[in-house]
Symmetry: D2
Subunit: 365 residues, 4 copies
């Protein structure tokens, strides 16, 4: 099976999507804590969701263990240990990945030690606690990803720790127009991420499709200016939230976050457009974060099928525009091509709601 | 275990939610055909969704076999037979229902013979083909439901056929403000449904929460005027679509239907409000149709917990407002009570889209 | 000069527009009272507005004396008498009409005696008080109009009183989908209005362009069914307010009424569309009520120029699309034809406001 | 009578509002050309509008001669000369100003010579052509204003020319977030405007209330940083257009500009909020540009009445919330205080339109 670096050379890689936020809707995760103990308590429900991403065309299944660092588990009042969660997460991801042709990505989470200023040694130790399982299960893990960093400084330490795994390394930041939480610009973050030596760098979470494209473009320009060619990745939100583009806390500042964001959910066609534009901007690993569900990941895989020379496994059952010619309703039968769907501007059906809301500005997580 | 009629006497019964439209997003159903062969091809994925409804608090799991009549399967180019689909649907629903305390409801679909004017005998035969499996598996089926009728005339024949099963009978129509597809008013439909002798009558699909409440109110008034006390049920859409309130084809007339309705998705709090108002209007069986996903069904069960003297199984993990006091973000920690959430007017995040769209008017399916 | 009836035969007649609500913005009328004493206190400002309607293409200048009945003046704490206001209103309208080719229409207002159930004699007397001036100045008044009736019963009395003037008679009601304030249907109102013997019947105020078209259509159908050919008139609001379509108090139920309705103001192109559709539905006298300002009346005259064989006096200066080819901005230079403008969907520029608002339902004025 | 500088010391000065765009709606100006020949052709209509601003509380009446430079008149196909237009404009403004306590401000327009790179001498000559009349009528002109500059460089030349008039000098630029049309930042523009020696500096046109506040704040910060205390003025648009905040062409890039902007019209209460915030940011001369009509200027004067120790002349007739307690409608009677009105979020009444639209980006006028 081809590894990450080989795949990146051949064409765009499709990542997987939303875990905790989707599992919460399905009844397997606690909103507020967003901790990953479902891998131990409801492995079948987690595997089902991973399987849906696999069928949707994901090349990668990430170990579903976000927030599995000792500090975050403790804050979330979870008594399981990082190691047992990460082990279970590895097993589930590997098991489902074997049902298809997907890689397993070991996920690393920012650590409380950094926020609490416990010093570099403590920070490294908390990263090591997450990483050790992936090293132990190295036969089942294809590459590792440090994600959702708000501070380039912490990311740099993390990548340094990750190097001992001797696997391909990816890393992403949760930054938007304002740069990192210490005020480091998008451009500087991009260059410093690349200079860690990571194989893949980019963005995840907090911002929507449009904002992510804008930040990605700035990153690309900054890297180009330095002659850096590290490939870019992005895993944006599955929710539209232009209001927060110029904040650091992103969608978590919306009044609707996290329980009433349904009307902001992106459509598969908005994702098609995004995937195409992200690819054009140079992104070579495109997936999703909170709110990007299986039909959205499918849209990425289908949009980039020409560049990837393959369709997602679910293609026959769920082609990009469905099988609407088989509908019994004449007006629906006609909606058979992308041209129609790419032009549709979906309504919210809520004329008594404002499309945008005032947001809370919070500067730190 | 208590049966349907006994439960209806004790308090409101919670139905389950969206099947085909949710399975399509997960990659297990064909948009356009919306046929139920997943029960044979992907039983685990179907069971997983049923299980989510069970955990969300549904008292009833409907056999996932909508469109499983010989005519509709043929039109959908499906070679499986009604009998084999319905058998599998029974088995899956029964198996999951045993994991909790749920009833199994055998679902009957309107028939093409009626639309094609093949005469009452052919109509009865097509209904019988669906019903036979439920009779055969009568130990595993608690009641039967004829749903999504556009014509009261056809419903009347269906209920007459259903009587031979000697089980409690429910029936619903897909009607809105304009009444049935032959122009029979909402009020007359209500009275005629009740006069079939069905134990539970009501509405499903095509219209949104608000439109369903309005139609329900007219039904209730008409029944009251005749001194009829048959309890009411409703399983509305999980999409907001005020534009179609005064059409007969409902949400199928939206340009966005069926593939780009995500921004119309209801929030759990909109469902709380709906469930309360539906109950106040006299509805005693409240569930959902297309687009009503597990977190929405959970909202019904949680809103009506006082009347039902019980919470859904998933209550500890997913209380109505999550466990947001455990969030690491201070603004989110405060969103701990329903008062906050019931006031939030969620935005669509799409200021460049109109909230409402012009709809296609189609008068027949 | 041709009279009203002759003009109606030749083609559609264009009425004038908003008086009190526009004068309030200009600083010459009291919001809340909406009384017409400006004709005495600020005659030049009133004449200027009348002149603008004349230049915009109005065939008719209505005496600006709405609310000039003894009851309403008293309620509005105005000490001027009906007679002195109506005389001044006649003089101003006549003076400006002479600057062009316009008719003067004497306007009659519903009376408080009716609302206060003072009996038919008192009602007739209050109407007579308004009418007398128009009879006295009959050389300067071309026809009379009883407008803004909420009750067909009161309108019938008014028209009966008006007959003694021996002038052409027009009358309008402020009704929408729900019919009059006693529950008389739109259809019955239409037929009864016609049966008073009035020469011109129709609708004014309270409802927007779209709602007025719907009510007009029902009126036309009802008249057609009776073989009645009385021509129709309409003078709708210049504000969009779909929320109030199914109320009796119309736009006065909006929270924004009367001081913050600016974003609801119709565009000239929305008026073009309305004028065309109203004409197609059979309206032969088309003008405006509150919020319909000179550029809107101009749009009516310009839209119906082919049917009227003439353009408004202001045509050279203000053709339908301006003289945009003379703009210094290249993108604006291109906006020279109606096709462009009729397609533009103007935004509100307020993504943080809902387009529709909850309305107060008041059943009586 | 107190002059400009004296008034600025005593409290905030209220400017007047929209001329050409309002006169076009009234039928006295050509859309596209926006030239000021109405002062010669329709002096009464122009005086009426000036009078409305005076009554609304304007301290200043600007000579209505925008675009009256030889270059612009020629481009607009107007054969009148700058001198005759400016003379008439002076006379009208002075005549109306005498009806109250207002100052006359002589307005100077950017010149085509600058855009056409004709060299500084030609530029100075074109400014002189405008200025000469004001010098000649110096007894009737209280101060002079160079406005709507897109380039700080041109403004600097203009102010230098203006100095020979030996009157107080004001100047404004039409800049937003992106700074001037040569890319000079807002901050630098502010400092350079002040360093011309002008007595009053600021912003006018192109951007809406919110965008103007943001730019004003940046200007104030830049001036503070340099220890500069020149008072600030602003005369923003009367249309909401957040879409153009990050463009240089402002509202002229809207598809709706200039003929279908009605739904973007600000409300008087939006102006109250703006006036308060502008004052708090340090603005000491607050008026309006295109779309700011008499009721909006009134809102500025009423909002700042405490700081000005006086109300507008029209106060008794048109207090801030009208005289709604005298309404005959009970729900309206209650809307008597500002608290209600400042909270109202007016709807557009257009649920089928998007609130925001895609804009054309044009970099030069």
């Amino acid at each position: 099976m081809k590894g990450l670096l080989e795949r990146l050379k051949e064409g765009p890689v499709v990542g997987d999507g939303s875990m905790c936020m989707t599992l919460e809707k399905r009844g397997y995760c606690r909103a507020g804590q967003w901790t990953p103990e479902a891998v131990l308590e409801y492995p079948d429900a987690v595997k089902q969701l991973l399987r849906e991403y696999l069928r949707a065309g994901a090349d990668v299944l990430q170990t579903p263990c976000y927030a599995s660092s000792d500090g975050r588990l403790k804050r979330g009042r979870i008594t399981y240990k990082t190691a047992e969660i990460n082990e279970a997460a590895c097993d589930l991801a590997y098991e489902v990945a074997q049902e298809g042709d997907a890689l397993v990505c070991g996920g690393i989470t920012p650590v409380l030690s950094y926020l609490q200023n416990k010093g570099e040694e403590a920070i490294r130790e908390e990263f090591n606690g997450q990483l050790d399982v992936f090293i132990k299960r190295r036969n089942n893990v294809d590459f590792i990803l440090g994600e959702f960093f708000g501070h380039i400084e912490e990311l740099e330490i993390c990548v340094d720790v990750m190097k001992k795994a001797k696997m391909p390394i990816a890393c992403t930041m949760r930054i938007g127009a304002l740069g990192d939480l210490n005020g480091v610009s998008v451009e500087e973050c991009a260059v410093r991420m690349a200079k860690t030596g990571a194989d893949l760098i980019g963005l995840n979470c907090l911002f929507d499709l449009n904002a992510t494209l804008k930040t990605l473009k700035r990153m690309k320009n900054a890297l180009d200016a330095e002659g850096i060619t590290t490939p870019l990745m992005c895993q944006p939100l599955g929710f539209m939230c232009p209001e927060v583009e110029h904040t650091t806390n992103g969608y978590s500042g919306l009044p609707e976050n996290p329980l009433a964001q349904d009307p902001r959910q992106v459509t598969r066609f908005e994702v098609h457009k995004f995937a195409r534009e992200a690819y054009n901007l140079g992104a070579r690993y495109i997936g999703g974060c909170c709110g990007m569900e299986p039909h959205h990941i499918r849209a990425i895989a289908q949009e980039l099928a020409p560049e990837r020379n393959r369709n997602p496994p679910v293609q026959d059952m769920c082609p990009p525009c469905g099988l609407l010619d088989r509908s019994s309703i004449s007006t629906i039968q006609k909606k058979v091509d992308m041209e129609f769907w790419m032009k549709v501007k979906p309504g919210s059906g809520r004329p008594y709601n404002p499309p945008c809301v005032k947001v809370a500005h919070v500067n730190r997580f």
